[in-house]
Every structure is written in C-alpha cells, then in structure tokens.
Amino acid sequence: MSTAESKQVIFRSLDDLEETPEFRQFVAREFPEGVENPPDGVTRRRWIQLMGASAVLAGVSGCRFENKKITPYAFRPEDRVPGDTREFATTIEWAGAVRPMYVTSYDSRPIKVDGNPLHEESGGSVPRGRQAQAVASKGTSDLVSQASVLDLYDPDRSRGCLEKVGREFESRTWADFAAAVGSLDLAASGGEGFVVLSEPTTSKAVSALKDRFAAKYPKARWFDYSPVNSDNEAAGLKAAFGKSVLPQFDLSSSEVVVCLDADPLGFHASSLKNSKGWAASRVPYSARVAHRPIGRYYSIESQFTITGMNADHRWPMKSSVIGSFAESLRLQVEKVREAGNPIDPVGSAEEQRVAILANELVYGINDITPSSSGKCVVMVGANQPAEVHQVAAVINELIGSKLVSYVSVPESASNLGSIGEAVEVLDSGVVENLLLIGGNPLYDAPAELGFGSVLAKAKNKIHFSMAANETTYQCDWHANMAHPFEVWTDSVAYDGSHCVGQPMIDPLFDSKSTVELLAMLVGESKTGMELVRGAFGDLAETDWFEAVHDGFVKGSASGATAVSQPVVPAGLDAAAWMAEDDSIEVVFTPSRLHDGRLANNAWIQEVPDSVTKVTWDNPAVVNPKTAKALGAKQNEKIKIEVDGRTVEAAVFIQPGQAENSIGIAIGYGRKKVGHIGGSIEKGIDPVGVDVGPLRTSEGWGMRNGVKATGTGSRYRLASTQDHHAIDPTGKAEIGSRWSRLIYEGTWESYEEFADTIIGGESKSEGAKSYSELKPDEEEKREHWPGHHHLHFENVDPIPREWKYSDEFKWGMSIDLNKCTGCNACVVACQAENNIGVVGKDEVARGRELHWIRIDRYMAANETYHNAGKILDDPEPRIRTQPVACHHCENAPCEQVCPVAATVHSDEGLNDMVYNRCIGTRYCGNNCPYKVRRFNYLNYSDAVTFVKYPWADKLSQDDISVKKLVNNPEVSIRSRGVMEKCSYCVQRIQNGKIKAKASGVPLGGDDITTACQDCCPTQAISFGNLGDKNSQVSKNHQDVRSYVLLEELNIGQRTKYMARVINPNMQWPVYVLGEDGEPTFLRYDQVFKEPSHHGAHGSHDGSGDHSEDGDHSKDGDHPKDGDDHSGDDHSKDGGEKHEKEELK
C-alpha cells in the first residue's frame, strides 16, 4: 500500500466486495463464462446451415480477377495528393455549446476529429515536436467531439425532404419544399400566425438573418429553446451584477477550488480549458520548483462527477440543500473576514468542514493574508437554482478571487420561459404555420406543458432537422438539415471568440444549413458561404482566409468586463442543509448524449460511463442505504413519481452517492431516433429510459420530495466494471509477488521525498533541475511513494534473432495525477483504429472491443470494512487508471501464439498480424493486463444473421454510408481475430516515412497516438525512449514513475506516474467507531502517514523479501530465493500479504 492510502480498502464494484462468483469469474477468466456461446436468436441448426452456406459462398467469391474500378479526379485540385490526409479547422455547435475542432479528412472524407490547437477552448496546446509537417499538432477534445464524426455517416440521416401524405412520409426535393412553403404564403399579413421555434445558436449569421426575418415577417413570433442550457447561471449572475455576464474560469493557478454540484472537468461548456488548467495546477514538479502547493479541490455534490472523482475531498450532499449550504458558507466566509484570522474548526464534522472551507477560501493553503492570493474560487453546477449562482458570485467577490472573470454576453430570454410562452401561443390556436429549426421539443419540452397536444393545434408544421425524430413525425413537412461538416457555419465560443465552420465534404444527402434555409425564407439568393462571411463584417480577403484556416478570428475573444458589487440573494436558509431530511430528490444529470441528439451515436452509447461503467443505459444511481430504504437491489427497477407522472428505471447502487438522492441522466429513451438509439418503427427498443415525464419547468435540474418505490422487476444493465479485472491477489504461486495497481501519496510526502533527494535546504534555494529530482543509478532509483520491495520474477528473456533498434524505442507514460477518467481517449482510439461497436447484449457478455479501458477503483475506509459494513462508508473515493497494451518486451502473449500472429518488432512494438491470427485466444488468456480483445462476430459489417440491435435493419446502401467513417490506414478486423492497442502503429510508420522523405530526423515527441492527442489534461505521453530528451523518456525517469505489475518483469514499455493528492490534514473524516457508530476524526489521524524513509524500507513488514534493489538487472535470481519458491511458503506468504493489504 502506498503511504496515504494505508487505511483504505480498494474495490472495483459491489460484486468485488462481496467476492461473488460472478466477480471471481471475471478475475480468473479472460472472458466470462458463456462468452463463446452463439448469440441469442440463432439455433444450432441454423448456425450450421449459415456457416455451411458462407463457406460455399467464400469459395465462390474466392475466384480471381475481380475487376475493381479506380476513378481519379477529372481535374485534381492543386497540391491534392490522393490517399493523403489533410486537416481543416472547423466548429460544431450543439444548441449553444460550441466546440472548435481540427478535422482530419482523407480524400475529402472527414474521418477523425481533434481539438483546434489554436483555440483556447479546445486545449490551445502548443505544437508538439520539431517537425511540424510530419505530425500536425492537435488540440484536446472530449468524447462527444471525438464521436461527432460518426453522426456525419449516420445511415439514419434523412436522404432528403419529406412530406406527410396521409400517415406516411414521402420523399421530396428541396424544390418541392420551396414550392410548398411558397404556397403557404407565410408573409401574408406580415407573418401573422407564423411561429418559429428554434434551438438557440450563437451564430451571428443566423442572428443577422433573424433581423431580416423580423423585417419581412414583422408579426411572426420567434422562440429559442434548448433543454440543455445555463438559464440558472445566467439568471443568478444577472441578479448579482445587474447585467448579463458569463463567468470565465482560469484554474491553471488555482490553490483551492470548491465545487458546489459543479463539474468543471466533465460537463461544463468550458471543460477542456478547465481540465487543462486543473492539470497545470497539479503538476507536482512544477509546483515544487515554484514553491507553491498543488491545487486542492473540494467537491460538494450529490452525484459522483468527474470532478468529484478527482477531488481531494469529496463531500456527498443532496443537490437540493446545496443552496442552503452555500449560504452558510458565505456567512462563514464573512465571519472569517471579520475576525481577521482563520477560525479554528470546532463542533460537528459538518461545522468543522464549513469552517475549514471558509478559512481556506479566504487565506488559501499557505495561510497568507486574506485575499492576497486570490487563487481560490467557488464554482456552481448548472442544475443549481439561480440564487446559488448568485451566492457563489458573492463569495468569490468576498475572497477576492482572481480565477474568475466575467464577460458581457447579449441578453437572451430564458429557454424555459421561451418554451412556456411558445406553448401558450400554440395553445391559443392562432398558429397557422409553425417552423421548428432543429431541436426535438416533443421529446424534451417540460412535461407539464403538454407540448404534444398543443403541437397538433398548429395548422402547418415544418421541422428542419438532420434526421426524423419524435417531433418530426408529428409534423407535415421535414426539411433536411446538413451536418456542420458539410456546410458553412459560424458560432461564438465560450470565450467569446467568433468561430468559422467550414465544409469538408459536399452534403452527402440533399440537405441545407440553417442560414441557407433562413435565406430562402427571407428571399435571399446568397450562398451559405457568402452569408456566413457576411457575419464577420468587412473582413479583408486575407483576414477571412486566415480566419477560415485558424477556425476563428484571432483576438476576437471577449475581454473581461468590470462588474459591480454583487447583490446578496434573499431567501436562502443557511440552516436547512444541517436539518434531518428524509425526502427523496431526483437529479437530472447531464449526459453524454447532450440533449438526446447523440442517442444514435453508437460510439457514445458504448463507452462505459466514467463512474458507473454502465453502457447503453441511464440507470437511476442511488446510494446503498437509499436503495435499501427503497427496497431495491442492483439491477432492479424503481418507480419514480413526479406530479402523478411516473418513470421506471433500473437501479445502480453507487457508494458515495448522496443519501436520498437519485441521479438519472437525460437524453436517453429516445423512441424515434434510429437503428442505434431506438426506433419504434423498426422494432428497436429505446436505449435507457426517458426522464422527460419527470422534468417540469420548476424542477428542471432536480426535484426534491419525489415518490420512489422499488418494483422488484429485474432489468439487466450492461456494466463493464468487472470486465478485464486484473488479478492483484492472484493465486498461491504469485502470492509473494504482490503489488499494488495504483500508487498514490500526499503532497506532503512528495515534498518531503523531493527534499530527501535534493537535500534539505532546497526549499530556499530556488528551482532545481529536473535531473536532480532523481538519482543517477538506474538500479537504485528512488521511487515515490516507496513501493520497491518487489520480488521480481526470474524471467529468461525471449531469445531474439535480432537486436532492438537504437533509433526508435517506442514507449508510453500515463500520468495518473492528471487522468480524470473522462473517456475521451476511449472514443479517440475507437475512431482512429476502426474499433467495432458490439451492442448492449454483447457488452453484457464481456465482448466489448475498446482497446483502451479505464479501470475504476473505489476506496473505502478500513474501519467500515473491518466491521463488514463497507458500503456504509458515506465517502468512498474513486481512482481511475487507463489500461491498454503495455508492449512488453518479454510479452507473455507472444510466447503462446501457435501461429506467430503476435510478434515483436525491433522498435519494441508488440505487433498484431491479423491475417495470421486463427483465433485460439491463448494470447488473451496469457495477458496479465487483459487488454486483448477478440472479435467473436463480424462486428464491423453488422450485416450478418446475428442479432445485433441493428442487424438486418440496415440496407447495403446504409452500410456503405456507415463505412465511410473508417480510417483507411488501419485494417478492419473480421470475426475470429484478436486485436489490441498497437500504439497507433499506422501513425508511427507514416511519421517515419514522411520524416525520411523530408530528410528531417524524427524528434522523440513527433509521433502522437490518438489517445494522447485528445487527452484534455495531456496525461498521456508517447514517444521515442531512445531519445533522452523526449517527454516520455523524462516521464519514465521521474520519481513518480512505476510499472504496473512490475514484478512480472516482462519489460513493459508503458509506465504510470503515481498520483499526488493534496488533502487537508484537518478535514474531518468519517470512520466507524468501536461501538459501531460512525464518528469522525481528523484526516491525519485516520491516514497516519509513515515518513518516507520508514515507508520505503519496511512498510509491508513481512520481511522475507524486503531487500531493496531486488531487480531483475541483478540477473540470476538467487537460488537462495527458495524461500519464495516453496509451495507451502508462498501460500502462506500470499495469504499473509492479502491480510496485510486489507488492513
């Protein structure tokens, strides 16, 4: 165990805790039992028939000389090289959420999305590598941006316009549509009875067209509505400052950040910038050199968010009382300021915590003078009511926070107010013509408005959208909207900069952009580009080209605006949060599906949730205690009732969830979206449940006092949490080789350690060079936190006929201190490497194919564990660890492959030769990291007899559209083939070829992997270990660096860097007292931290193998190691170790 965690018990899931047979099976077996059974719905006979038929067909198609066509350009554009990729800057906006992007296009076909490296809101990273041409630098991106390219090739997109004839839709052209709109005579009597309900947009081109629209149709009404909005924040800040402002956070120098239900690293409009800042504030080496502490993050929240997982202290609290808590925090901050010095925490744990938070917010970590640092801030989540945002603004003002600034934004009506008003107008029956631009209000409008019934009152209804959705089916016309990658768009990013979205491909189907549609309505004949360019004012030609090239107008970000003294809100009860409260609340958590528009995106659906690891579902997440109170077990449904409307959802029991709080994600349960997300017509069940009936304008983000009851009916959730579990306890024979998987230690211990290495007086000596933080001798390298008492396996290296290349030695380093578990890498890898989607049933069988998985461990206090009440720990913590192929030099998988389908390259890559693989799965069985994935079925084609959700629902035409997203640089794997992380070998090879052709040698950091490119915190570094100056070489040499399962001694090329946490030693922590009652102790009393020296030598105390430097490099492991090899002994040793560990 590492230093600070010695009083914790780590577990993956409830099954793990209970050591259920299911979990044992996941640990012991590579894949769960029954994994090789044929899928449901196919009988054995049918299977054999089909197999026979396909064998015959294979023979027939094996005939030679199939003529394939090559169709070159008739006129090839200058500089265009067929088969080469190009990158274009563009922007996607989803109802006000703007994402600047760099899109990689292969032969004019967008295939991969990354962040725009020039834009602050997508990482704004500096170009990596010396060779700018060979490897273009990428910005960071999140998982939804990564997956957005899949939407472009969604076969469920409309192929053109549709008109309802009778009860069916018939296809129409845009000319038909124009004629139909013309015949409606919209402009009659100034647009009387004409209503537009649009999703909000920041586009200035649209806004200009809106003005012209208003001029042409003066009596028409226009409403903007999006279910995902920041109405509360806007209202709160307006109440505080008297004008419309948007907060801008800069976390890069943060010292103390208090998140009240806020998720700045996860679902936040500026999450990429926040993540980058968060990571920058927590680099221990930089902080050590600058003599400042790393950032300390507190999360007070009801749901486990990504920020909460990574917080130093997480305090579960019902969302509905967080407002009251914020008020109490404000009062305490005022008290501290009045007192003029920190107030000693006394009283109950809650009171002490408030006192500690207030002290730190005012004085920072280092107890300087009040407000002198200004490096503290309070952030509030979008679900919280306006007053809470207002209180936070007041607190930030009181503590003089410099981390938050405000920019002016145009005044806009609240989304929920708009939709209410629109419904009123519709309900009055005066609406002749209704145009819906985007959106899906039938699915996502507040439940109490009854949008469905009032929609029918409008006479002519037109829906402009990318695909037919729930709302479209109730309309008379469907006009086909283009994907943003197909048309010119513009938008304003979170920081206020004006972005351009350029098309990279002609519309695949007969579709138009919003500006083109509006231009048609106001009778303008300009092209989309002219209209968008018009929105940029009179930009000179070269400036316009630069803006298109960069993706935005440089320097157009809004400057901070001065704000007045914020007004303190009235009506918040500072005592309410301490009161006893048994009412149940339901919190509608933000979703990867955004407002549901991404429900047909299979990549997003299949990514395991960061916290629950559930795929293809939105379970009702509850605390174990609450689940017991509701009488619901894991995988059982509960019924939630609001105002007489009910929703049934499967329960997922999540320790650490606030008591009496049910969290459920929005955007699921779409009934008419397509072959992935659900389609009643095609007989495909919706994915997850629609929480729409529970959401009202009043309780939009959350609702307290709901009725929830267990139903007892079973429902299977496909969670990957136990899949591919690494077996740390092992069997008797590896008992003595125990090691931990995740290392972490406190900032104090890191500082102390750094001092022992550098020498005691370093604190006053200024910056030390990097190399001084590590000793020279490789064998005697010091590690932090101390963990080097490993008994190394005496491994004979695989004899090789070749030597390792001196030129390239590829390796990877993953900084666990930076990894937030956000899943962006999982999808980036999927997009880059043509990884198949398997569907819910297959995931439940453990057949998911993601090459990189994010292991998620929970840690609970040992006092609860010892009493057998581990689930009663109210505040367990979560740690994440991405695991992909380690490219071991003595790879266990290579040794068992009977056909040499997995072999080593001289650059250290563990190559996978798909065309040799015969599917024995021995390699997967022998992989200690369980990173190999097997194609049980032909997932990439998905036109088999197999019962995928979408199988046989797609035509050949649909499939050819789907295939356009594939990366031509990577082989598509078929059934019966193993696959795994290749370190993006196609990028390595292409980078080397380009470097050789250009004559510029390849720098150690020049080649990047897909996961590295997208990582919002840049936790992953990849490069050439042969180049001592590459980032990955430096990281491998860092004192925090360690190897997962190092004792196997198999020459892993991937290393991890231990995590540094920065807890407050005074923070009260709940423990289970002797009497079985929960009590609390100071953090440092619970996690007594041995000093570094002590920890290094003797922390596991079993003594039989604690000699330091027991490395493989010492060569022949001594025969005197028979004390390790005796069966009886190691059995004892193993058990002893397990017990040690559990203490």
Binding site: P72, F75, S905, D911, S982, I993
Partner: protein, 334 residues
C-alpha cells in the same frame, strides 16, 4: 518353406476374395485423393492464381509502350505522387488533356496541345474533360486490404518501378508482371542489394549498366556518397595509397589522410563500414579473420571499382541511402 497344406491353412490367415476389390478400390481412391491434392496444389500455386498476368481491358486503350517506351515520358509525368505519397495515383483526366485536350481548351492561361484530337480511342477522355466525370479505370495491381504499401518509401530509396511492375514501357496493355505475394516481397526485403539503383534511374525501366558503364555508375555513386573521397582510392594490395580530394576541382594528390577530419586513419574504417559495407562486413573480409584491416577495406573498394557487380553497387547504395529494409510485421500489417 516346407509346407504342409493343412497346417498352412490352419495357421495362416488368408484374405478373403473381396479384399482384392478393396485393394483396388483403395488404390483408386488414393489415386483420386492424390490427384485432387495435386490439382488443388497446382492451381493454388499457379502464377495465374496469384494474379500474375491479370490484364483487364481498360476503358481507354492507353498504351504505356507508346507513351513511356517510345515517347519516353517519365513515369512521374502522370503518376506524379509516386515519390510523395503512398499511392502512385492514377492521373486525373486533366493530365491526358495536356496533350489531348484540344487547342481551344485553355486552362489557367496555358494553351493545351491537340494530339489526336479526333481519335475515337480518346472519346472517353474528351467526354471526361467536358463533363468533369472521371474515367473509370480498372485496377491491375492490387494488394490485400490488410497490407500497407507506400510507393514513396520505395522509389525515393532507389527501388525502381520495374522491380514490381516489370517493363511497363514495353506493355501495350498493362498486366501484372510480378507475383506481389508476401514471399516475393520478403525476398527483396531480405536481400535488396541487387534491386537497388541510383535514385535518378528509378523511372528508367530499361536501365541495366554493364562493364565500363557500371564502373562509371559505381564511381559516381561512390563520389556522391563520399564526396571528397570518391575517386581517391587507387593502388593495389601491395601499394595502397589513398588519394584525397582537397575540394578544388581537379586537384587530387597523394598524401596523408588527415586533411579532412572525416577521413583519417582512425576513422577510415568506420567510414568504410558506414558507407560501404554497412552491416555486412564479411564482403570485405578477405582473409576470413572476422576483422577487417584497412588493407582489406581498401582492397575491397579497389575490387569494386575495377569490376563492380550490381550487388556491389547495391551494397554501396544501401549504405549510402541508409536503407534498412524493415521486416517488422507492422511495416506492412497495421
């Protein structure tokens, strides 16, 4: 053996008569199976099965023999991405139009030539130029989907087009001349020496220097690789002298080694090893000692210079161009 009829009948086992039939049947089926295996084997390994000779009829009867052979158009005039990218890229119709476009077609200021303006064979080209729709060519050379091949990596390293495509400049209709099988690729990757030529000759498909001509090429490449040292090694094993070139045209003289820091006695062997023998020093190891003396090195070089073979040239080029033909699986399979 002296036999007693009765005993024999009692002790011995006599196959029943039907066995005779079975033997015949067995032999026949063995023959059939053998024949089947042989037939399958024959067809599976026949050059045609591995696509050699595949010669589809193209929509436009473009003659490589005429254009590349007779008219000596460089391959890269049409396949202009071959040294820059993975694909050699079938040219756009616009390239045909440069000559066959017609006088009245003026594109970006350049008047296009009008060769065979009325030829029926060029109808499709003219149609494509008019409509902007591509000509649908048929693929001749195709690798399996799981194989990655990069043209630029080969042609910029001195592997000629002819090594994989044969004498395209003699083909009226292009056909697949080589197997393009994995073994065939690996043969060259394992032993590339004889398939290498100076980079400026890769598109000269008929290039086959012999005798004096090869000697000249060897000397030229030696000079390119060594620069200053090119023509300087003379003498025989008894009288080894190294002439160096002091940088001025025509000025070479006998003398000490130490003029250029790159070439002195200490590192001369190193230079030889790096630039000439590469990783295969056995070539120069005359006495088989496993060690190469300076004398041996110079002797080897002298031999090469007096009567070089294509292999000698290949070894020189391989090291001069720093060619390390990769045999990692991931080079071709990703």
């Amino acid at each position: 053996m002296a036999t007693d009829a009765n005993t024999t009948q009692l002790d011995g086992f006599v196959f029943p008569a039907w066995v005779n039939k079975m033997v015949l049947l067995g032999l026949a089926s063995a023959g059939l199976i053998g024949g089947y295996v042989a037939t399958v084997g024959f067809f599976a390994t026949h050059p045609k099965v591995i696509n050699v000779g595949h010669m589809p009829e193209q929509p436009v009867p473009f003659s490589h023999a005429l254009h590349a052979g007779k008219l000596k158009l460089d391959c890269r005039y049409c396949h202009n991405t071959v040294d820059k990218a993975a694909h050699a890229a079938i040219p756009p119709t616009a390239t045909c139009g440069n000559c066959h476009g017609g006088k009245d077609r003026v594109k970006e200021g350049a008047t296009l030539a009008a060769v065979h303006l009325k030829s029926e064979k060029l109808t499709k080209v003219r149609e494509s130029l008019e409509s902007g729709e591509p000509v649908e060519w048929l693929r001749v050379h195709e690798l399996p989907g799981f194989v990655y091949f990069n043209h630029s990596a080969h042609v910029t390293r001195g592997v000629s087009c002819v090594e994989c495509h044969g004498r395209i400049d003699k083909m009226e209709v292009v056909y697949q001349a080589k197997q393009l099988s994995m073994k065939w690729c690996l043969d060259c990757h394992r032993n590339p020496d004889e398939s290498l030529r100076p980079v400026d000759q890769v598109t000269n498909l008929g290039w086959d220097p012999q005798g004096e001509e090869l000697k000249k090429v060897y000397d030229e490449e030696l000079e390119k690789a060594f620069g200053h040292l090119g023509r300087s090694v003379v003498g025989d094993s008894n009288d080894l002298r190294l002439f160096y070139y002091d940088g001025k045209a025509g000025a070479s003289k006998a003398g000490e080694f130490a003029v250029n820091p790159l070439v002195n006695k200490q590192n001369l062997q190193h230079v030889f090893a790096e630039k000439i023998f590469g990783e295969d020093p056995k070539l120069a190891d005359g006495d088989g000692s496993g060690d190469i003396s300076l004398a041996e090195a110079l002797l080897y070089l002298k031999d090469c210079r007096s009567s070089p073979t294509r292999k000698d040239l290949g070894v020189l080029l391989k090291n001069a161009y720093k060619i390390k033909p990769k045999q990692n699986c991931s080079t071709c399979h990703r």
